[in-house]
Amino acid sequence: MSQNTLLLELTGVVKEYPASPEPLRVLHGIDFSLDAGECAAILGPSGCGKSTLLNVMGSLDLPDAGTTRIRGNDIAAMNAAELARLRNHEIGFVFQLHHLLPQCTALENVLIPAMVHEHRDRAREQALRLLERVGLRERRHHRPGELSGGERQRVAVARALINNPALLLADEPTGALNEEAATELADLLLELRRERNMAIVVVTHARDLAERFAPLYQLHGGRLERRE
């Protein structure tokens, strides 16, 4: 994977939501691109459409106008199965809320994405390594209810990385964490990025966190501007 390879490209992306009396336009023609292994942080106040933008980037949502290309492939042209495969192989998600399966242990939660593909036997080793890497190997048999907020989020990071994605999309990853835990998580993400040459897009309203994932982009009024 070359550093100069274009990984993610958004062109003129528009997104609206049905509302009364007229649809609410959240994204107004967003243009954005990201090479493999690069970082980007998107800043903006709550409700400005950051999560929507991230969802569009991660193929969780389709734009109403414009295109989203991942490795040159237009996600609008893909069917549900192809999109699922794309997310499984190329993209990792970290949400503000961890969204772990409450009935599964930490290890099992990490393994969930790996259940889809054919190399399940190697996945367990990988999951253990990842848990080791995020400092939770000893807690691997604990369920989300038995973990702290920071630990849950680290499990969510490990889950996002289980399939070695080229792109990690983090939506307010530290939003539910205290300052110390937030710093630790940011450190972890950056270390992992270096280790895996992985592109990361972080969406946050916290400038401190955003600066660690520069370059910075500001989403305002549905438009994205690069901040120097």
Binding site: Y17, P18, A19, S20, P21, S51, T52, N55, G58, L60, D61, A80, A81, A84, R85, L86, R87, N88, H89, I91, G92, F93, F95, L97, H99, L100, L101, P102, Q103, C104, L107, E108, L111, I112, P113, M115, V116, A123, R124, R159, A160, N163
Partner: protein
């Protein structure tokens, strides 16, 4: 980590959700399996009953009102031995048995403790030892009855209060070989034989006390007596009318054996030899069946003869009354329409060749009356008296004629004028020449004049030289297939099996009755599961986000629920067995009318368990599949935000199908309402019911649309409590509509059915009603002639007599499928003129159907009422495509009877039967003489019925007001409705419980929301009230929808019978339903929000 682990952990973690699912599966499966098990039990009970009544009998030859020589059984048995089928060494082998079966009455003898008890419809069987060899395998052997002894079954013993050793009076309809109404047949009306017999033993079911060839589950009233003694008592020595054969004997073999073994004398024929060499074939049944005539004519040169008694033979100046005449013996050159007279008549009337005489005679009509005919005939020849000596010698024996001394004593089944009987010249002729015919003609002419529905041939005369009786008998046997005179073994066991297999499907019936219970369980299960999936939205969203396809997520959810469904199915199937036992208990203890008192026994068919469990599992699986598809159809983004509820407005386009549905339902409502009020004529009830159902569906759809619109509507400037409640209902639209659906449908069904059950009335005085305007229905065991001008002492204007052929009861009182429904012979025109049994504008068309000429001599019939057509027979009624039934005629012919129509009311006095015209009836069953049922029009039905019962007690009269008969028929339906109400009530309780669970989960989920309200200053009491109001609104709205719809549906019933509808009981029932639901939500709110912890705000 495997899928199995994931599933196991999912079930364990979401155990509350799956417990709810499990409960739903168990209830649905138990209701379904139980209903099917009831069906199996009823069916198996019918099989058991069929086995118990048939014993080892597999085939039966039933000659009805004709009688054969009991020695025929021995002859057939011998033929079987010859075939090697039965070994001679076998003693008392189950082979063939002849039975003398009669209708009778039984009474307790005077002096008995139960004196005065009477049984009008008893089956009296004259049996010999051979009969008991056909008893069921393992049946306890009882010594056959001796002379003046009787074995009675438990039904007789119970009715009369008799025990072994008691005496009873047996009154039997005295059989006659000759048809009751045939001319020249005395056929004494109401002739009975009475004997006092001692009850030797009371036979249990295991002792073959249930023996019967009638496909009915009801226990017959059987009395077994010694066959020889019965023959002596009734004057039918050595006679029988039933041949029973073991099931071990092949039917074809039996038919071959009877063909080889029968002799003319076995079946009432005899050859008479005259010194002149003439051999005459005669029948003890008076008339010779046409098939026999044809066979005899093939066997030899047989000349047919017909005798008659004409009223008068007259010339212009002279006349002689009541003269015996014979067709078939006039010289061959006698022209058609001409006659020969004997010398005595020629002298008496001053007649000669070429003169004209006028002959008057009576023709018997199907109504039992006589029509006088007159014809003129030219005298061809005068025959000397000496030439008629052969006729005098070979004349037939007519009881009441041949055996009396004077004309005054004649009693021959023809109306005779007492004054004319005293004619001295005629008396002198009788004294000198007896039955020597005064007038003869050709057979063709005579049969045209005096032939009747009973036949045209009374004797066949063989005049060939050297004719030999044995030779003729052999030739006749060779040329006549005994089957054509009705000597046919019917596969009664096979027929019984078919009747059971085609019997009313109680499994289906109970599934129908339990449908609301099953639907309520499935709907609540769907609501609970959908709610559960909403709480797991983030799980589903996370899986979709990490690359699981929606299909894979769906599969995961389905696989997770699969073990629960399987467990629930197993538990439900076992529970279903207990549910079935409970239903059977209810059927035998509380609703015996529903199964016509059949002694139901539980029977387990493993395949049914599997079928019920699999069906329920599939239903639940389908519900879960739909919920899963709906959950996974949402984008991961929404799921991750746990945004399952409709907090955003759905686009208008998504509402369009529902708007369309609402519009269609409105149209249906408008159409059915129009039909109900203006268009449906005499029976608007179904349209009112349709209007109610359409109103309910419209209300529910409109409610859903309203909630959808509420979300789109901008919030008002001033927020009010009701707005908050409505917003909450709209947020969970599926749940809100689902709860309203369950409660609304439940209330609608229960109230409608309750009103239907309560409001059934029978306006018997109305000609268009099910009683046809006749207020009394009377039936007799012993038939009476119809020629009487005052039947039962009433004028003919007040009474309509009916002929009866006892077939199978095709009504609700018989669980088996009738193979040959009971037939009533009616006079269509008489009923049409009275406007009976149909609306005025349709009555003529209806009764004219019975006179419809059909191809291939098929006989048109009307089914007794719509319930019989729809449920009893499941028969199409149409002049072209109507269902057909085959009946064995009295002369061996098989008649096809087609249901060309039906009486238009649900219940009529003829439930379980079919009606054919009297003309066709008498053609089919000439030996079924007289009338055994009467429709009586009287203003005092109770008094009239009591008077008839008293007056005609000797003839086995059972008269009752029509309304009682109709109520007895309706008891079955009433029992079904009662069961439906109970099962529906259980469904409603389940609905109440489900609504409570849903409310509980909803409030538990929204604890943070309630805590927030408290945190911002709401009083906890107010918060609780809000929650309570929301839940009350939820269920009360459903109840209101149901009530409104039910009110529309029951309008006609309330209009028809405002008093019978028992409005107060209905109101109590509705209040109970409302109270149950309100109690459920009150308790739930109290439980969920007794305390509102602010800690809920901190809970993620």
């Amino acid at each position: 980590m495997t899928l199995v682990t994931l599933i196991a952990q999912g079930i364990r973690y979401h155990r509350r959700l799956y417990l709810g699912l499990l409960a739903g599966v168990v209830i649905a499966c138990a209701a379904l399996t139980g209903a099917l098990a009831v069906g199996d039990s009823v069916r198996q009970t019918l099989f058991w009953i069929a086995e118990a009544r048939l014993g080892a009998v597999g085939h039966a030859l039933d000659w009805g009102n004709r009688y054969f020589d009991a020695a025929l059984a021995t002859a057939v048995d011998a033929a079987l031995v010859e075939t090697g089928h039965i070994e001679m060494s076998e003693t008392a082998h189950p082979g063939i048995a002849a039975v003398f079966a009669l209708r009778g009455m039984a009474e307790t003898s005077p002096g008995h403790a139960q004196s005065g008890r009477r049984l009008n419809r008893a089956y009296v069987y004259g049996v010999d030892a051979g009969f008991w060899t056909l008893a069921p395998e393992g049946a306890a052997v009882v010594a056959p009855p001796g002379p003046q002894e009787a074995l009675i079954n438990e039904s007789v013993a119970r009715t009369l209060g008799l025990a072994a050793g008691d005496d009873m009076l047996l009154r039997l309809v005295r059989p006659s070989a000759m048809p009751l109404e045939a001319p020249l047949s005395r056929g004494d009306e109401g002739d009975t034989a009475v004997a006092r017999v001692r009850v030797a033993a009371v036979l249990s079911e295991a002792q073959w006390g249930r023996f019967s060839l009638v496909t009915d589950q009801a226990m017959p009233a059987n009395i077994f007596v010694d066959q020889a003694w019965l023959g002596h008592l009734t004057g039918m020595i050595g006679k029988a009318n039933l041949l029973l054969a073991s099931d071990a004997i092949d039917g074809d073999l039996l038919q071959d054996c009877i063909a080889a073994a029968w002799k003319p004398e076995h079946v009432g024929y005899r050859f008479r030899e005259h010194p002149s060499g003439i051999i005459q074939l005669e029948s003890e049944r008076l008339f010779i069946e046409s098939a026999v005539t044809e066979a005899a004519q093939r066997a030899g040169d047989a000349r047919p003869l017909l005798h008659y008694l004409v009223n008068e033979i007259r010339t212009k100046e002279h006349a002689t009354p009541y003269s015996f005449v014979t067709a078939g013996i006039a010289p061959d050159d006698t022209p058609d329409g001409a006659v020969c007279v004997n010398q005595w008549l020629a002298d008496a009337l001053d007649l000669g060749s070429g003169d004209t005489v006028t002959i008057t005679w009576n023709e018997p009509l199907p109504s039992g009356e006589f029509k006088e005919h007159t014809t003129e005939a030219q005298v061809h020849q005068v025959v000397p008296m000496a030439a008629l000596q052969v006729e005098r010698d070979l004349t037939l024996d007519f009881p009441g004629l041949s055996d009396v001394d004077t004309c005054r004593d004649w009693d021959i089944g023809l109306p005779l004028d007492e004054e004319k009987l005293q004619d001295e010249e005629n008396e002198a002729y009788w004294n000198e020449y007896r039955q020597t015919p005064k007038l003869t003609t050709s057979f063709e002419t005579g049969s045209r004049w005096w032939g009747s529905r009973f036949g045209t041939v009374m004797a066949l005369r063989f005049t060939e030289k050297n004719a030999d009786v044995d030779e003729l008998s052999r030739a006749l046997r060779e040329t006549l297939d005994p089957a054509v005179i009705g000597l046919t073994f019917m596969p009664v066991r096979e027929n019984a099996r078919r009747a059971v297999e085609q019997a009313m499907d109680f499994g289906g019936l109970f599934i129908g009755m339990s449908m609301f219970l099953i639907a309520a369980a499935l709907t609540l299960l769907a609501l609970l599961y959908a709610h559960g999936l909403q709480t797991r939205a983030n799980e589903i969203g996370a899986l979709l986000a990490v690359g699981w396809t929606p299909r894979r997520v769906r599969a995961w959810l389905l696989l997770e629920s699969l073990p629960v469904i399987l467990c629930g199915s197993v538990v439900g199937a076992v529970g279903g067995l207990w549910y079935a036992r409970l239903l059977l208990f209810g059927l035998t203890q509380f609703w015996p009318d529903a199964v016509a008192g059949a002694p139901l026994r539980f029977h387990l068919v493993p395949a049914t368990l599997v079928q019920g469990a699999v069906s329920a599992a599939l239903c639940v699986f389908a519900v879960i599949l739909i919920c899963s598809i709906r959950a996974c159809r949402r984008p991961a983004r929404e799921l991750l935000q746990r945004d399952f509820a409709s907090t955003t407005a759905a686009p208008h386009t998504r509402e369009l199908p529902f708007m369309f549905l609402c519009a269609v339902l409105l149209l249906v409502l408008a159409f059915s309402s129009y039909q109900a009020f203006f268009g449906a004529g005499d029976n608007p009830t179904p349209w009112f019911f349709a209007s109610g159902a359409a109103a309910l569906a419209t209300a529910l759809t409109a409610y859903g649309l309203f909630l959808g619109r509420l979300i789109r509507k901008p919030a008002p400037a001033h927020l009010r409590l009701w707005r908050l409640i409505l917003a909450q209902l709209a947020r969970r639209r599926s749940r809100s509509v689902g709860v309203a659906l369950v409660t609304g449908c439940g209330v609608f069904m229960i109230v409608s059915v309750f009103a239907m059950q309560a409001a059934m009335t029978f306006d018997v005085a109305q000609p268009a009603s099910g009683a046809g305007g006749f207020t009394v229905f009377a039936s007799l065991t012993t038939p009476v002639r119809g020629s009487d001008d005052t039947p039962l002492g009433f004028s003919r204007d007040s009474v309509v007599p009916l002929r009866v052929w006892d077939g199978d009861d095709a009504g609700c009182l018989n669980l088996n499928r009738a193979q040959q429904p009971r037939l009533y012979g009616v006079a269509p025109r008489a009923l049409s003129e009275r406007g009976a049994f149909a609306p005025q504008d349709a009555v003529a068309d209806l009764w004219s159907l019975l006179e419809l000429p059909l191809e291939d001599d098929v006989i048109p019939a009307l089914v007794g009422d719509t319930d019989t057509a729809l449920w009893g027979l499941e028969a199409t009624t149409d002049p072209v495509r109507g269902a057909e039934f085959e009946y064995p005629g009295d002369t061996g012919e098989t008649f096809r009877v087609r249901a060309v129509g039906r009486l238009p009311m649900r219940l009529s006095l003829f439930q379980g039967a079919m009606l054919i015209s009297e003309e066709q009836f008498t053609r089919m069953f000439p030996h079924e003489g007289g009338y055994r049922a009467f429709l009586v029009d009287t203003d005092a039905p109770e008094d009239t019925a009591a008077q008839l019962n008293q007056e005609y007690r000797r003839l086995g009269m059972e008269a009752a007001p029509s309304v009682e008969r109709l109520r007895a028929f309706y008891a079955v339906e009433r029992a079904y409705l009662a069961m439906f109400l109970v099962l529906g009530g259980i469904g409603m309780m389940l609905g109440a419980g489900g609504a409570a669970v849903i409310a509980l989960r909803n409030m538990a989920e929204r604890r943070a929301e309630f805590a927030l309200l408290v945190a911002v200053g709401y009083e906890p009491r107010l918060v609780r009230r809000m929650a309570l109001l929301e839940n009350v609104f939820l269920v009360v709205l459903g109840i209101l929808f149901g009530l409104t719809a039910a009110a529309i549906a029951v309008i006609p019933l309330l209009m028809q019978a405002p008093t019978a509808a028992n409005v107060s009981a209905l109101a109590v029932m509705i209040l109970c339903v409302i109270a149950a639901y309100l109690a459920a939500v009150l308790i739930t709110t109290r439980l969920a929000l007794g305390e509102i912890p602010l800690a809920a705000l901190r809970t993620e």
